[in-house]
């Protein structure tokens, strides 16, 4: 910089210019991650900021890429199931369901009724668990350390329930092609009912401790406003979309499994953001939608428990699974949004192309638009409210 000044010659003008050049401030480039307490997973967000105000953001992904789609081409149909657990590890049941349904639609087999009901129970309980993490970690991001532990207390019970039914706490591989791997053990359904009752009481506490806290509202209301148009343009789905006022939920609008029946029976309604505390589509709305969805999921679980039937849990399947040739795309409502599985079969023992549409990937794209203009603290709040699971973003 001083070289330039000397080139431009001597005199007062040059001295002034030299002063200006040396004093010119540069935007600070800060790396959020890949190791950072607030990015949910191994993700790097390069943030350019002018002191406290963010002027630009760019997400760098790929730190958690594990070639899930390529592996899909190399293993047999049933063998791929454990891999589906691992992309969105917080809602593994949903992933299993999506993949299984994609393959089942190619095979055209019917799933037994009990299996369908148990599937929905597991998927909705998983949704509760996933939203508990989203809510708890979001509290941690904005500074309230305690709701995280309280949320994990409930999640621990949910994981214990899943441990009883399938043997694993996080990567379940329980919903298989054709039904389920095994039936619920005796007493499991009663425990699920007890969980629903206790959870409703605790839900009130979550709302009082964090969601209604004035400081939390000040941190999140009016922050990171995602407009309808931007949400639709970026392909955002899930609670983020609903918080921006777009009334779209795959469980109701493109129903799969038995959701059409559940919705027709009035067992759940879709929570929609309304800008209650700030603007429509802000961080508070997104958190609110997730908290309300937890309650709706408990309602769905209760309906399934009430309509439970006895019966087999796995359809008639050959020993070696061969799926007729064809391609199929099945999208389900993940806790994060639309999780799509696209499988192509050539009649062989495995797929020749498995493509996964991860909702976090599209949801994450909005940070390049939302972050500039926000303060650093807001940047954290916005990234946290998107509820990213990097396993799903990178697969």
């Amino acid at each position: 910089m001083s070289n330039e000044a000397s080139i431009h010659g001597a005199g007062e003008h040059a001295a002034q210019r030299e002063f200006e050049l040396e004093v010119r401030a540069q935007d600070m480039e800060v790396n959020f991650g890949p190791q950072h307490p607030a990015t949910h997973g191994v993700m790097r967000v390069l943030v350019r900021s002018d002191g406290e105000v963010v002027t630009g953001a760019q997400a760098h992904l790929g730190y958690l890429h594990r070639c899930a789609e390529k592996i899909g081409e190399n293993v047999e149909w049933l063998m791929y199931l454990p891999y589906t657990d691992r992309y969105d590890y917080l809602s593994a049941m949903n992933n299993n369901l999506g993949y299984s349904m994609a393959v089942e639609s190619l095979m055209g087999i019917r799933i037994p009724r009990r299996a369908e009901l148990l599937r929905v129970i597991c998927v909705e309980l998983n949704r509760v668990g996933s939203h508990l993490i989203a809510f708890g970690t979001y509290g941690m991001d904005v500074g309230a350390m305690t709701p995280f532990f309280h949320c994990f207390r409930e999640r621990e019970w949910m994981m214990a329930l899943f441990e009883k039914i399938c043997g694993a706490r996080l990567t379940y591989s329980y919903i298989r092609i054709g039904g389920l791997f095994n039936d619920a053990p005796p007493g499991w359904l009663e425990e699920v009912a007890r969980f629903c009752d206790v959870f409703e009481e605790r839900w009130v506490e979550y709302e009082q401790l964090l969601l209604s806290s004035h400081i939390f509202i000040q941190r999140t209301a009016g922050v990171g406003v995602l407009s309808r148009e931007m949400a639709l343009a970026f392909g955002v789905t899930g609670p983020m979309l609903r918080a921006s006022g777009v009334d779209w939920d795959l469980r109701r609008d493109m129903p799969y499994s038995i959701y059409a029946e559940i919705f027709a029976a009035g067992a759940f309604k879709v929570p929609l953001g309304s800008g209650a505390k700030g603007k429509l589509g802000d961080c508070w709305d997104r958190t609110w939608v997730r908290v309300m969805e937890m309650r709706e999921s408990i309602g769905i679980v209760r309906w399934c428990l009430a309509h439970m039937v006895e019966g087999p849990v796995v359809g008639d399947l050959p020993k070696v699974l061969r799926v007729p040739a064809g391609e199929s795309y099945v999208a389900i409502e993940n806790p994060r949004g639309e999780l799509g599985h696209y499988v192509v079969s050539d009649g062989g023992r495995g797929s020749i192309r498995t493509r996964v549409r991860g909702p976090s990937f599209s949801n994450l794209a909005v940070i390049e638009e939302l972050l500039p203009g926000a303060l650093v603290g807001d940047a954290i709040a916005i990234i946290g409210s998107i509820d990213i699971v990097v396993g799903e973003t990178d697969r």
């Binding site: 694993a168 791997f181 004035h214």
Partner: protein, 174 residues
């Protein structure tokens, strides 16, 4: 900052929600915690838990179905057949690769490989993780017994058959 009304609302709401929050945290402050003191106390493990495998070696017929079912090919087994009996050399499962998916358990025709409730597998050496599931090597203690019996039976059957045939002269005789 709009108007005195929102000002007062801010102050009052902050105080109110703070006190409500403090009541909840105060409630849990007074309660007994829910955690267990690991490793002195453990959480109960349900029966279906997908832990370290165990093999019922007598039932196993070395059919390799579990090895083929594994998505990661972490099961390797070696046995020498002696007629119907097996002489076991090794049955290893590489826990560096295993993802505890339980896909090996279902296809087993003899229902002999299971996942147990053990989850702690700690070692300082990577070699230890190629865990041998065999409880004994070589042949089963009563295998040789069975082989000898089978052998004896075969010889007896052969002898009986030979005994049934009349002596050469008689058969050709009258």
């Amino acid at each position: 900052m709009a108007g005195p009304r929102s000002y007062i609302f801010n102050v009052v709401n902050t105080l109110k929600t703070t006190l409500v929050g403090m009541r909840i945290t105060g409630k849990y402050l007074m309660r007994k915690p829910i955690t267990v003191q690991y490793p002195d106390e453990r959480m109960p493990i349900p029966d279906r838990f997908r832990g370290i495998h165990y093999l019922e070696q007598e039932k196993c017929i070395d059919c390799l179905v579990c090895a083929r079912a594994c998505p990661i090919d972490c099961i390797e087994m070696e046995a020498v057949r002696h007629g119907k009996e097996l002489e076991w050399i090794s049955f290893t499962l590489d826990y560096q690769k295993c993802m505890f998916c339980e896909l090996c358990v279902y296809p087993c025709p003899k229902d002999c490989i299971h996942m147990g409730t053990e989850y702690a597998f700690v070692s300082f050496d990577r070699g230890d993780f190629k865990h041998d599931l065999l409880s004994y090597q070589g042949m089963a203690p009563d295998a040789r017994e069975r082989m000898r019996e089978a052998d004896a039976k075969k010889r007896a059957a052969a002898a009986a058959k030979a005994a049934q045939l009349p002596p050469g002269g008689e058969a050709l005789g009258a």
